[in-house]
């Protein structure tokens, strides 16, 4: 069964994504890592959808892709504004939320 391979691929992508979110300082890279995470979820959805012989997972994956597109749109707009205000997109320099 191919399922395992799919799930392993998804897990690997997920880990790379999490690593990117935690370790990267560049906001764009963090957004890309979030995309990786979402896509690893998609791979899982597709794997199980194929296994169960139903198109529900595919539909859900398409939905996730649409949401991800919206998320990146908002994210990039924020990055752009960040860049305009402080000429940098380094996340480590954003610490106004420090308690």
């Amino acid at each position: 069964m191919l399922l395992n391979q799919f799930l392993i691929l998804g897990a690997v992508l997920f880990c790379i994504g999490v690593y990117g979110v935690i370790a990267r300082k560049n906001a764009v890279m963090v957004l890309m890592s979030i995309e990786l995470i979402l896509n690893s979820v998609n791979i899982n959805l597709l794997a199980f959808s194929l296994r169960n012989g139903s198109v529900d997972g595919h539909t859900f994956a398409l939905y996730v892709i649409a949401v991800a597109a919206a998320e990146v749109g908002v994210g990039l707009a924020m990055v752009l504004l960040m860049y305009r205000n402080r000429r940098s997109i380094g996340l480590d320099e954003l610490s106004e939320m420090k308690g």
Binding site: V18, I22, K25, V30, S54, H58, S95, K98
Partner: protein, 808 residues
């Protein structure tokens, strides 16, 4: 299955490697695109070598496919059904639904493949010179190459999904290329407008594909063993008499809306003239000769769907012919009030696309496809000619009135090629446009659409007139503005709506110096990289019409023989299991050349699926089929039976007279207006109220842009915004305020009764505790996003772990 089919074949059609492997053609530029993106900047020619090489490769493959297709047709009997060469691989499948990807190669495919690969190659060669030193040179070639990959993919598409894939790639590349010089606001607005307008139409493409899939899938699966997305499945389904009229009509209308958007038909044509903001090679390739014919191609590709769904050749006018007719006239009229040479050509393109649509709508399938073919050459030539003028003579301006004039002495090659292409566009014998456009007009009349024949003739008159005006303003008279050697002030550039000013802000200082140097020479002929494509295209504009020269008799109608699909009734196995092309079962027909093929299919072979009879037997051949008068009871056909108007010199002579009348009257007017400055004519639009109103109406493009932007967008977007604001103010705020007020009341009571008496004591203790906890948790609130992420994922992992432990 293949072996079985081969046995019952009467004639084995020849095939060949290029035909079998036509699917490689779109792959070549797609790979090249990746190479340009990843390695282009490091290459000595900045990636352009990949682009040019891939297009030349695609051209060789397309030419090979075209040659082998011609062999295939020539080897078959006259009027026989020539099976397309279909290959399909499963792209996606689940739950009984599957999508294929592959190739569907027939006469139409190889024609458009050849045109696209050929024009793309020439345009890329031309761009080597035209965009030299551009800031985004590499990206330009990348987008251009990806565009070609998309278009070629759409053309070879085996099913609608693959077609949509190519279609959308083209839309994206069009956006990127129109906005190539996005630093100027007008360019990026034009790019957005083009994208959104075509997207509006694309909704129709998705809807239509979905509707047709659900309507056709059962039939195609049972009868042909292919899915409801398949092009041959949809074509034969439409003609089988199976579809309900509602489903097929809705599907056809939706698909035609997509074609309206992509092919710049009324009322969604407004993006196309604005798209001229892109570099001239882009206008030449995408927005005149190839991408904009995608809509026409779509209609030609699944023609039976439109034929049945919109009742072409039925009583009265149909949707397609009406839209096409309107487009011809309104676009041609708009071309008169343009001062920008590229906009004249853009409206001319819109108008010519109208001819193609009108032809398709009136059952003139072959002339319309032939017009795609010839139009590509002469329109690409005209655009590249306009680019040549702006590149070498008018200091990157496209304003005919301000910056051109008298250029025929300075640019003999550009002038000659321009004149040849103009004559082809106007449809003067023996240039190529004559053989295609006149055939459309002729056939439209022949098929009973007399009103639209008059529309076509009016369009021919207008075309001749506006092209004469443009030619006069560009090449005759005396040089003005930049072509007279005047240098624009920098601020003057802002005034030009479409202005290829890449040379100004994108060149480095050295390049800029050399550019000024060459501008100071005044107008001159362009370099060979620019003139060579012009000469090649002009030669084709002159000669390509002879591929289907109806006036010289039947033996000259090669294009018709090679491209037009046969309406012959065939056994379903014939189209269902074609993989290599050699093995389709052809059911012999007695009189294939008769306008109405009346024979019933004599099935010599068992049906692919035994269920074929179920569909038909109940109806006993009563339903209408356009393969012939009688229903193909156990056969299918993939093309409707169409008539061809016999060529008459009297009719051709009449349209020739109209064209010459247009040219002559326009010439006289131009001389009077621009050369003699005739007092009666100059400023006539200001003096005469009616003419002034008409002029204003045209200059404002029938107020369609105003309608879209000020009325439709506002009426939709603004009420939503206002409604959201109202909800925010009244409902949400009300809830918040109400909650606040009641909370205050409750709080007062709590304060008096609970707080004062009970809690106070506890508070001091808990306050101390909270302070301690806050102090301990403070480092967590570091303000570092990465750390928040780590906390999020860490706690999610712990949560997951707990879940796993609980569940096991």
């Amino acid at each position: 299955m293949l072996a079985a089919a081969t046995e019952m074949t009467e004639t084995v059609l020849s095939s060949g490697w290029f035909l079998e492997n036509a699917w490689i053609i779109p792959i070549i530029p797609a790979i090249s695109f990746a190479l340009i993106i990843f390695f282009g900047k490091r290459m000595p020619k900045k990636g352009s070598e990949f682009g040019v090489a891939s297009m030349l490769g695609a051209l060789v493959f397309s030419a090979g496919a075209a040659y082998q297709w011609i062999q295939r047709v020539n080897g078959a009997a006259e009027g026989a059904y020539i099976a397309p060469i279909v290959k399909t691989w499963t792209w996606w499948q689940n739950d009984g639904v599957s999508l294929g990807i592959g190739q569907h190669v027939d006469g139409l495919t190889v024609t458009i493949l050849l045109v696209v690969a050929f024009i793309s190659s020439l345009v890329q060669i031309y761009s080597l010179e035209y965009l030299r030193g551009d800031r985004r040179y590499t990206h330009f070639f990348a987008s251009l190459t990806l565009f070609s990959a998309g278009m070629l993919n759409m053309v070879v598409a085996e099913n609608m999904i693959q077609l949509i894939l190519g279609w959308e790639i083209m839309g994206l590349c069009s956006f990127m290329l129109i906005g190539h010089w996005w630093e100027e606001g007008a360019n990026s607005r034009a790019a957005l407008k083009a994208f959104f307008t075509t997207r509006t139409g694309d909704i129709g493409l998705l809807t239509g594909t979905a509707v047709l899939y659900f309507a056709a899938n059962d039939w195609t699966t049972k009868t042909l063993g292919v899915s409801g997305f398949s092009i041959r499945g949809l074509s034969s389904w439409a003609l089988s008499g199976d579809p309900s009229s509602a489903a097929i009509t809705v599907g056809a209308v939706a698909l035609f809306i997509a074609a309206i958007g992509k092919s710049g038909q009324f009322p969604l044509h407004t993006w196309l003239p604005d798209a001229m903001a892109g570099p001239t090679p882009v206008s030449s390739l995408l927005h005149s000769s190839t991408m904009v014919v995608a809509g026409v191609f779509l209609v030609a590709r699944v023609y039976p769907v439109f034929f049945e769904g919109l009742d072409i050749l039925g009583s009265g006018a149909n949707f397609i012919v009406i839209i096409g007719g309107i487009t011809i006239v309104i676009a041609a009229l708009l071309a008169f009030v343009q001062t920008d040479i590229k906009k004249v050509l853009a409206y001319s393109t819109v108008s010519q696309l109208g001819y193609m649509m009108m032809g398709l709508g009136a059952g003139a399938w072959l002339p319309a496809v032939f017009h795609i073919f010839t139009h590509a050459f002469f329109k690409a030539c005209l655009f590249l000619g306009a680019g040549s003028i702006s590149h070498s003579s008018s200091h990157h301006s496209f304003e005919m009135k301000k910056d051109m004039g008298g250029l025929r002495k300075f640019m003999p090659i550009t002038f000659t090629t321009w004149i040849i292409s103009t004559l082809a566009l106007c449809g003067v014998f023996p240039f190529s446009g004559f053989f295609s456009k006149d055939e459309i007009i002729d056939n439209v009349g022949h098929n009973g659409y007399n009103v639209f024949m008059i529309v076509g003739l009016t369009g021919a008159f207008l075309t001749a007139a506006y092209m004469t005006r443009a030619t006069y303003l560009t090449f005759f008279g005396s040089p003005r503005g930049a072509s007279a050697g005047e240098h624009h002030e920098e601020e003057g550039h802002g005034a030009h709506a479409s202005h290829d000013d890449h040379a100004h802000d994108t060149h480095g200082h050295d390049a800029h110096a050399s550019h000024d140097d060459h501008a100071s020479h005044g107008p001159h002929e362009s370099g060979w990289l620019i003139t060579a494509p012009l000469i090649i295209l002009a030669t084709l504009a002159l000669s390509s019409g002879f591929l289907n020269a109806a006036p010289f008799g039947h033996s000259w109608e090669n294009f018709k023989k090679w491209v037009e699909p046969s309406a012959e009734v065939i056994n379903p196995t014939g189209i269902a299991y074609v993989t290599g092309g050699a093995g389709e079962a052809r059911i012999s027909s007695d009189e294939p050349t008769e306008p109405v093929v009346g024979e019933e299919a004599q099935s010599g072979a068992p049906l692919a699926a035994a269920s074929g009879e179920e569909d038909h037997s109940s109806e006993e051949g009563h339903h209408k089929s356009d393969c012939g008068t009688k229903t193909p009871v156990d056969g299918v056909c993939v093309a409707p039976q169409l008539n061809h108007a016999p060529f008459k010199w009297s009719k051709a002579g009449l349209s020739m007279l109209i064209v010459f009348a247009g040219m002559l009257s326009s010439w006289i007017l131009c001389v009077q207006l621009y050369e003699r400055k005739n007092k009666k004519l100059v400023g006539l639009t200001e003096r005469n109220k009616a003419l002034g109103a008409g002029y204003k109406f045209l200059v404002n493009k029938y107020y369609l842009d105003a309608l879209y932007e000020n009325v439709i967008v506002r009426s939709i977007a603004h009420p939503i915004a206002r409604g959201a604001y109202w909800i925010n103010q009244n409902i949400l705020d009300g809830i918040v305020n109400g909650a606040g007020t009641s909370a205050k009341t409750v709080a007062g009571w709590v304060y008096r009764n609970v707080d004062q008496k009970l809690v106070d004591g506890a508070v001091n203790g808990s306050g101390n505790a909270a302070q301690a906890a806050g102090g301990a948790l403070q480092p967590v609130q570091s303000g570092k996003v990465n750390m928040y992420g780590a906390l999020l994922f860490g706690s999610a992992a712990i949560g997951a772990l707990i879940l796993v432990i609980i569940n096991t």
